[in-house]
Amino acid sequence: MSDIITISPVTRIEGHAKITIHLNSIGEVEDARFHVNEFRGFEKFCEGRLLWEMPGLTSRICGICPASHLVTSAKAGDDILSIGIPETAEKLRRMLVLAQWIQSHALSFFHLSSPDFLLGFDADPAVRNIFGMIAHDKEFARRGIRLRKFGQQIIEFLGGRRIHTPWAVAGGVREPFTKEERDKLLEWYPEVRDTALLALKTIKKVHETYIKEISCFGNFHSLFVGMVGQKGEMEYYGGNLRIMDSAGNIIADNIDPREYYNHFGEASESWSYLKFPYYKPLGYPKGIYRVGPLARLNICDYIETPMAEQERKLFKQLAPTTEAVNNSFYFHYARLIELLFAVEKVEELLHDPIILGTHVRSKAEINKMEGVGATEAPRGTLFHHYWVNDDGVLQKVNMLIATAQNNMAMNRTVRQIAMQFVEGKNIPEPILNRIEAGIRCFDPCLSCSTHALGQMPLEISLFNHQGELLDRRVK
């Protein structure tokens, strides 16, 4: 008699999901699946709307990373208008993307994942959250919250509000940046840099503590995909796509993001609303790839800012020279290196006089029937692809979201952790939490990836080999 265990809902992630663990007739883990059970249909209801409305519309996909959708959509708009945007506008958009990284990465580490690391995977679930963190180490939690606030503050200064700003538009941005706002941010900078460094120091201690977890938290071979700059530097706003294999070989480089659909396909499974993107030349499911911080750290040749570059070199030492860093647990480390990079890069931009320019918006008519925008969102490469008619009315929309691209990898991670830790029908809570924590490595955003109604959290079910539900936990 085999069994299935269900964890539902998964907690401390952005969106609603469940995990099922399937046991075989002798009670061993046979399979485990990460199900995303929300559906929204954004691509469909954007049809018939105007191109200029799309940044405002698509930023509503998500309350965590609206700025990423906003800028990506504006870039798709630039492409359709065939327009070059003012230099000031590009630098300000870049700052918005970095601010998005700062607030989202700070949220992922300090609010969502650090309770596992600092209070322990085995701690009482009632305190294993941000409030437990505040009780445990008030100053650490406060600094994390302030770091996230810094990112949100930049977004507010640029866009007028923290969430769902409509500030980036096809052709540039709506409002310029002011000297007063710049000075306030520069004053704040030393504190956020120190907090980013503190986070890195913390994660290194975690690496020493959780050796058993690290060995199986999504440690497998896959491709890595992301954008790099012209010289191979870490990129977050523009750049071309690079694809690397698990041995660290670049198998495709300098791909124009407009060509993404020639390289990536999307498969569907009956048990999840989240699609399964794959690398076309290898097919489904062999073309499994990962995007996001781990991929970006693997694929780039260097990072432009000094402190983050120093950390990148240490990151590279986590794997032998013949391999890329394949362990998904190191997503956390990579994320914090990116956080440091974003903080350093924001400071660099704040010192650039061009960001105070007042010419920030170019205007044009519809010049192309199709356009693609791509940026590196906090969770990975984000693509918006629009088709319009002569009047700028959307005929078709395709969005390839970062979390969706990690879907296969998340499923494999769940399976690997379940196989390592689950024994028998009854799963103790700390084991369930480890499975959830495996998902949290990827910092998934399910409302984005399904373009689905974002509700918290996770459920786990346990099924036997005949598909009968044996146990179900909802949080």
């Binding site: 018939g48 409305e53 409509p166 538009v169 709506r174 009047d391 009315v393």
Partner: protein
Amino acid sequence: MAVKTLTINGEQYSAQEGESILSVARQHNIPIPTLCHLEGLSTVGACRLCVVQIEGIPKLLPACTTKVEEGMVIHTANEKLNKYRRMIVALLASEGNHVCAVCVANNHCELQDLAYEVGLVRVRYPYLFPKKTLDATHKDYVMDHNRCVLCTRCVRVCDEVEGAHVWDVAGRGINCEIITGLDYAWGNSQTCTECGKCVMVCPTGALFEKGVTVSEMEKKKGFLKYIITARQKKEWVSISND
């Protein structure tokens, strides 16, 4: 012209014969919500938001089309009127696709202002989610039928002020829709002078300039007073943006 004496909300006022209740109320700063009414255009009494209660008359009457009469006792605000006005705004909201968060007229919309004014906190009617289209064929402007409340201000300003009569209303009941010419695409209209008056008098995000994004479409209606006064009285007045 004879002078009429009437009572509004317990206060006595005098008015010219032939004047509307709304006109008298406006002169004395008595608030009555309106939507289809716009100073300078003809009155159609379409939206019914300006309904008032007149003692001795069993039904509510629109202040914009009802003329003053001697001895009238009028109430412009009470629980019954507020309830009806809320109901009207709720019905308007439920029969279109008014998505304020992503609308070009967000924060500059008269329907939105009215919802606040009448205290509409929830719509108890089922939303119809009608399948409506958007006409973006004009090079400068867009007509989004999803946001149209059929106030006909665009029809009237084009006919009465611009003299082009590009707009009309087609269909019946819930299927009514503003059309261009004999239901042509706006971009193919032979009569449109591209003046943009219809866009500026539209109370919602139904008519807007091409290229604007969320909340960017601000309607400037001051031109209307300026043009009308200049034509009728041969006087120039300063433009205000109200």
